[in-house]
């Protein structure tokens, strides 16, 4: 019976090809839009998640603070107030897992006839664990290197590519600001940071080497900022409080005075960014769902027209023994076929469009099976939902009135 009804539904659609096609088109565009928007939204989320993962978890950045000089207030980091000793003291706190001071600067790196300007960060080995950054080749420098201020360097992948090409950089000597450094390791690929910077375009050297030999300043022993990792996400508020107290004490700040440092919770910032992306992709999906809804209403509209046009046919069918459920099923099947075909074509065009966006606009897109299934399921239920009202209307027709309809 269902087979006969399916074939009848198919014939009924074939009788009005253009109309069936246009109805399907509405559904198709809806599904394609949902899939594409989900793909783009998930793509953006993927990029953000990756940057967050590359940053390290439960991370604080402690910046040198402000200074007031003759009524003129200078910005954060204007006066370097943080030292390696501060970092060592913070490392002793129970709520802090790891600490790494950092003294970054831009320098020209030269190897043979190649040269490249990059960010050189003076730091300690714990920076690698805090940032969750692995060594791809060679070795990291050690605490001994920091104590002895040796001239060793770890290079990021972008720097390696620009200075060495295909040559193996390990053990080679490069010059940074005219000083020779030995390349002892290559950092693993890290990708973009949250603000879109290429994190692989950097080099690491022991912090003491940076202080004494590269970026010597009028404030010896100071660093630009300190990275600190709390022992857990829950320990972050405690860690922030302990670090503030410790640093105020170490910097001999009176009760009322402003702190001369600034503790920033990077993980909170990153989570906010992730939240934003999530909201954005949700919104994209919601907007696309509207087109799905419109497609569904299109199906209802056409099915209502079809029921009206075929009133007489419905009357005949009832007169020869069709039950209400037979008539309902017949029109429901038509709506389902239209929406299913629309869905299938929509899935393919949505995936195709997402891939096209990826290729043309080089935007990250992530097509997951779950989003395809979701779009398909929602669309199919929309079709059934909007097909139900017209089908019911057809089934409820009174046979004599339907037969009299011209």
């Amino acid at each position: 019976m269902i087979g006969a009804m399916l074939s009848e539904a198919w014939h009924a659609m074939g009788a009005n090809r253009l109309r069936s096609f246009l109805t399907m088109l509405g559904m198709m565009i809806g599904v394609a839009a949902v899939i594409m928007m989900l793909a783009i939204g998930r793509g953006a989320q993927f990029v953000v998640d990756q940057s967050i993962a590359s940053m390290g978890s439960n991370l604080f950045i402690i910046l040198s603070g402000t200074a007031t000089s003759g009524g003129l207030r200078l910005g954060t980091g204007a006066v370097p107030t943080l030292t390696i000793n501060d970092a060592d003291a913070i490392a002793e706190l129970p709520s802090v897992a790891a600490v790494a001071p950092a003294l970054p600067g831009t320098a020209q790196l030269v190897y043979g006839s190649n040269n490249w300007s990059t960010l050189v960060v003076g730091t300690t080995p714990s920076a690698l664990s805090i940032r969750d950054w692995n060594i791809a080749a060679g070795y990291a420098f050690t605490g001994a290197d920091v104590r002895a201020a040796t001239r060793v360097v770890l290079l990021g992948q972008t720097v390696v590519r620009n200075l060495f090409g295909n040559e193996n950089p390990l053990g080679k000597t490069i010059r940074i600001k005219q000083s020779p450094f030995i390349v002892i390791g290559v950092l693993a690929v890290k990708g973009q940071s949250l603000d879109g910077r290429d994190q692989d375009d950097s080099a690491m050297i022991p912090v003491t080497t940076a202080q004494r030999k590269l970026f010597g300043s009028q404030f010896p022993g100071t660093v630009r900022f300190i990275m600190a990792q709390a022992i857990s996400a829950r320990a972050m508020p405690t860690a922030e409080k302990e670090m503030t107290e410790l640093l105020r004490q170490r910097h001999h700040l009176p009760e009322r005075a402003e702190s001369d440092f600034d503790i920033r919770n990077l993980t909170a910032l990153a989570n906010a960014a992730a939240q934003t992306t999530r909201v954005m992709s949700l919104m994209l999906g919601a907007i696309a769902s509207v087109s799905l809804l419109v497609g569904g209403i299109g199906i209802m509209n056409i099915m209502l027209v079809s029921v009206t046009e075929r009133t007489r046919e419905i009357g005949i069918r009832i007169a020869i023994g069709a039950r209400e459920r037979d008539i309902r099923l017949q029109f429901l099947l038509e709506a389902i076929i239209i929406s299913l075909i629309g869905c299938v074509v929509g899935v393919f065009s949505g995936v195709g469009a997402a891939i096209l966006v990826n290729l043309v606009a080089s935007t990250a897109v992530v097509i997951t099976m779950s989003s395809v299934i979701l779009a398909f399921a929602v669309a199919a239920s929309v079709g059934i939902f909007f097909g139900f009202y017209p089908a019911n209307k057809a089934a409820r027709l009174k046979p004599i009135e339907a037969l009299r309809y011209q």
Partner: protein, 240 residues
């Protein structure tokens, strides 16, 4: 109830509700039809004969009174049971043929079998047999628009017969046909009644069509005014 009684109607009323109040269409109809009868119903326009046919065919319901079809009181049946009666017990033939224009003749004839839940191969076999019987062998794949009115009515009769109903209801089946074709259709009805004992109730305007029946019921103004055997001689005397 007699074994071979197929229709028993007692004190049946039908009113249509309008803004100006109820309008009576059928008043106090009492009528019994035995299996194997061939009944012609005549009457002027608006006399209620079509409404009567619709009620007998279970596509309309009476306002008052009882209608027992093949042993079951129609007013006590639910929608699905009524649909089953229309499907299996009754074969309806309309004035306007009422074929589905997009379906082939074979599909049209076998349509009631779909609702009876008969498998495709069986449907096709029986439809072709019946097309053969109404003189349309080889037309199975034609469309209604490709054949004449008389042929379309034959298809409609084949469709009415496909579930082997106990009762054929024909509402002015020759109303849209020329005289020669009409007589062909009537011969088919006579044959069905005579050879197979099929009960036939037929509404018509034309006396020469009514003359094919064995019993004549006349409706005037919603009442039965005449009920008796048809005699050709008698026919001449009844004003229509």
């Amino acid at each position: 109830m007699a074994q071979n009684e197929i229709i028993r109607i007692t004190h049946l009323d039908k009113q249509y509700e309008t803004d100006a109040g109820p309008v009576p269409v059928l008043r106090d109809i009492t009528l019994t039809i035995q299996a194997g009868e061939f009944v012609a119903i005549m009457g002027p326009s608006g006399s209620g004969k079509s409404t009567f046919m619709n009620i007998v065919g279970c596509i309309d319901l009476a306002t008052r009174g009882t209608y027992v079809l093949d042993g079951s009181d129609v007013s006590t049946l639910d929608k699905d049971q009524l649909a089953r009666l229309r499907n299996k017990t009754i074969g309806f033939v309309f004035q306007g043929f009422n074929l589905l224009p997009r379906a082939t003749l074979e599909e049209n004839v076998s349509l009631p079998l779909i609702y009876a839940g008969v498998a495709k191969a069986e449907r096709s076999k029986r439809a072709l047999e019946l097309l053969d019987r109404v003189g349309l062998a080889g037309y199975g794949n034609s469309l209604p628009s490709q054949i004449s009115g008389g042929q379309q009515q034959r298809v409609a009769i084949a469709r009415a017969l496909i579930n082997q109903p106990r009762l054929i209801l024909a509402d002015e089946p020759t109303g849209n046909l020329d005289s020669k074709t009409s007589h062909g259709i009537m011969r088919l009805f006579t044959q069905l009644n005579h050879d197979e004992g099929m009960t036939i109730v037929l509404v018509t305007h034309e006396r020469d069509i009514a003359a094919y029946a064995k019993r004549l019921v006349k409706f005037v103004d919603g009442r039965v005014t005449h009920d008796g055997a048809v005699e050709v001689r008698f026919m001449e005397e009844i004003p229509s």
